[in-house]
Structure formats: structure tokens, C-alpha cells
């Protein structure tokens, strides 16, 4: 991994761990064993680094998208949810949730880049849900976009809320999302 890639990777981890306004160039520099000023060689300012992080997340999302494109909708959704579960295990949150929380402190470009990425994710999830419904794999009684919003907010919010409760709460949320889409629901006693 190049220095540039390492910087982006670390910035991403720091943003999703501590928040955009809490991490510093020095945090990255000390980990990489370089100096503060070297980061400015790759990124003129914090804004450009932030945007690079968003673009990298978008790139990785598209890699996932392609990797599961031929699979069943249920499996696509499970792969998607799994990336959040992995994030939960790291005690981090997702990039959209982290930067949306700090939105009013970000440059316009950063906010636009983030909004673009969020819409990418929503629209992909919409197509997965739509396909699942057509195939009879999914059942849901609200508009597709609404269902997509509900699922994403469950995952995004779940990463944050369950930092305050227990990790298990997140896995319960993720499993429930998938179970509730199943057309064959075994209705059990629930206490």
C-alpha cells in the first residue's frame, strides 16, 4: 500500500472512530512514522483528504456491488449488512453517519461528495429490494425507497446506538432486517 493509500486508510479509520473534527494530521503522521508536513504533499488540506476518504468508500462499495451482482437479492443484502457488522466489531461507525453528524462543519464540496455517496447506496439498495420482490424473495408493504431508507437508518443508527448498549443489539438489528423481508415468516411468541 502506497503512502497515499495508507493516509486515506488511516484517515478513514480515524473519522469513523473519533469523528472528522477530532482527528489530526499528527494522528496519521505518527502512525505512519512520517511528519505532519508530508501529508500536505499528498493532500493540500483536510478537506481534500476528507473527500478522498469518501471517494475510497465509494470505490469499495462499488467493488462489493460488482462482487455480489450475480447473487440472489437476499445474499446481496446479507453481504451489505455484513460490512456494517464488521464495522460494529471495530467499534466504529459508518462514514455516512460520521460525516453527516459533522455536516455543518464541512466544506460544501465534502458535503456534496457525501450526499452523492449516500444516494448511490440508497439507489443500489432500492434495486436489490425491487429485484427481491420480483423474485418473491422479499416481501414488504411500503414503497421501495422508503424500505431502503428504513434499512439504512437501522444500520447507520444501529452502529451508533449500540455503542451505548451492547454489540449484540446491533447483530439483532441486522438479523431482524433480513428476517423481516422474508416472505415465509414463522411467527413465534415474542416477549
Amino acid at each position: 500500500m502506497s503512502t497515499r493509500e495508507s493516509i486515506i486508510h488511516l484517515a478513514d479509520q480515524l473519522i469513523r472512530d473519533q469523528g472528522y473534527n477530532a482527528f489530526s494530521f499528527y494522528d496519521i503522521a505518527k502512525t505512519l512514522g512520517i511528519k505532519n508536513a508530508s501529508i500536505h504533499y499528498y493532500f493540500p488540506g483536510k478537506t481534500q483528504l476528507g473527500i478522498a476518504v469518501i471517494k475510497e468508500q465509494s470505490r469499495r462499495f462499488n467493488v462489493l456491488k460488482q462482487a455480489v451482482a450475480d447473487k440472489r437479492p437476499a445474499e446481496q443484502l446479507r453481504a451489505f449488512a455484513h460490512t456494517y457488522a464488521a464495522t460494529r466489531q471495530e467499534e466504529r461507525i459508518c462514514i455516512v453517519g460520521s460525516l453527516a453528524s459533522d455536516l455543518h462543519t464541512l466544506d460544501t464540496e465534502t458535503g456534496q461528495s457525501l450526499a452523492l455517496f449516500a444516494e448511490e447506496v440508497i439507489e443500489w439498495l432500492e434495486t436489490v429490494l425491487e429485484q427481491g420482490k420480483k423474485l418473491g424473495d422479499f416481501t414488504f408493504a411500503v414503497p421501495t425507497r422508503t424500505k431502503a431508507l428504513l434499512i439504512i437508518t437501522n444500520l447507520l443508527g444501529g452502529l451508533q446506538l449500540t455503542r451505548l448498549t451492547q454489540p449484540q443489539d446491533f447483530y439483532t438489528i441486522a438479523e431482524t432486517i433480513i428476517q423481516e423481508l422474508s416472505p415465509v415468516q414463522i411467527k413465534e411468541n415474542n416477549t
Copy 2:
């Protein structure tokens, strides 16, 4: 409103607008027409101010709780969701989402105070859902705590995600949460 109360109120607004690590004592001081140092008279440090904000949110939550205690579960839930809708209109997010995003930069006490508040909200929502089910006002097929987690993450995450899309998306989310609990669902065509 006393100076102390004004400070807490402004800190709350700033935390939910810009984030804990982005607001400064000066932001509050200039609005109140006082000096930086005066805030330290009321709160020794930022940590104590942050905790006071959480406690005030908890107090106001309990006021709401008492105000709707005699009403039907559906109306209690609607009043709860309405506070989030009002927050959405201000372009802010909820205190739990904001501080949970910054959790790893907060003092232990602040984190504990926040976790306590989050659990208060979850448990109250559980009792409302449970009552609604007993009365036949609500239908849901997952454990009560799970349903509470799903609803709260929809609202918490909705405030953040819809900063990037449109305000209407949030209202759709909030309305859908309530509609989906209704035992008499008119299943319409959904595209």
C-alpha cells in the same frame, strides 16, 4: 432563563448542530454577550457542560413522558416521533446520535451519562410498545426490545441520513414507523 440555563440550551443546540468537538465556549459566549471565562464559573470544563446538556435532555424527556402518560400508546409514540420531526426542521440531529458519534473522544463520565439516557429512552419505548400490543393498538412480530431498537435507529439515523437527501425523507420514515405498527394495514400497491 438564567445564564446557566442559557448556556446549557446553547450548548445543546451547538452539539446537535455542529458536534461536540466543533463547538467552543466562545460560540456560546458571543451569543450570550458574555466572555469566555464566565462560562467556566458555571461549568469547570467542557465535560461538565456536556453532562449538563445530557441531564437536561433527560429531564425534558421525562417531562414529555409524564405529559403523555395517560394517553394511548399510539399517541405517546406520535408525540415522541414529533420531537424528532421538530429536530429535523431545525436541521439538527438528536443528542444520542451526535454524542455517540463522538463517543471515543468523550470522558468516561460523559459516555456513562449518555448510555444511561439512551437506556431510559429504549426502556420507555419498550413499555409503550408493550402496552400498545396488549391494547391491540400495535402489531409487531419481533421482540419488544428489538422493535424499540429498530424504531429509535430509524429516527436517530433518519435525522442524519436525510441531511443528505431531503427533509421529506425523514417525515416519510417517521410516518411509516407509526403506520407499520397499526394492526389494520391497508395493503396498497407499492412501487
